[in-house]
Subunit: 139 residues, 2 copies
């Protein structure tokens, strides 16, 4: 797997990879950037959420669980001293659908984070999660 980054002559970069997609990465104007894109550490959380979100959608499809809506909230704790490593990550998976079986939803999240998600397996932080279910019919 490969990625390339081109400097923007301030503090930001344009990043591209084999998928053919490019994004801008930048930092705030306070540290010399132009705030033209998300921060590097934000991309790490985006990758984790996208990776495990994809797994959960695919696993629930195989379990024939119908999902109407799905959002993910991620909160990361960082060490105070440099390099401010990400030490702990808590993920809330919010699934909406008619009668989603909590056991199946939890199993899908567990399978993702322990067996399938490349990004989760590549991070050294402790990752915890919760699955929150909502049923629009009953709300």
């Amino acid at each position: 797997m490969e990625a390339k980054l081109q400097w923007d002559h301030k503090m930001g970069f344009t990043a591209s990879a084999a998928s053919g997609h490019s994004i801008k990465i930048d930092v705030s104007t306070e540290v010399g950037g132009t705030d033209s894109g998300p921060r590097p550490t934000e991309l790490l959380l985006f990758g984790l959420g996208g990776c495990s979100g994809f797994d959960i959608v695919a696993i629930l499809q195989k379990m024939r669980v119908e999902v109407e809506d799905f959002s993910i909230e991620i909160v990361a704790q960082r060490a105070p001293e440099h390099p401010q490593k990400i030490t702990a990550i808590d993920i809330i998976y919010r699934l909406t659908g008619a009668d989603i079986d909590p056991a199946k939803a939890n199993r899908a999240a567990e399978l993702s984070l322990t067996k399938y998600c490349s990004v989760a397996a590549s991070l050294n932080a402790e990752i915890t999660y919760r699955v929150v279910l909502a049923d629009l019919k009953n709300s």
Copy 2:
């Protein structure tokens, strides 16, 4: 640090974070996605490159080293079995400028990867790097 992701009802997500920037994350149509954005694992490499690229620019500025151009190439090895964890990452930093001191450039890269870069410190892969210098005056 926080991030939120909203499912697109296929296999992709729109991710947003505190910086205010949103990006799409998706997979190929072969696995049910719509290829509307980079892959989750690509984002991890983008974050690593952006993070250490920022450090190197900032450190070289402090060292009063003038850089005319800067690009980064990242190659990652993944384990063959699930979860296909990223096991090794090799980074090439290509710096262009008049008479960039190789020792300073290498020191900047080393400082980033061992002391400052949050993303590098948050990954469990072995990370190696090379600094390649070019001087446009002499090319």
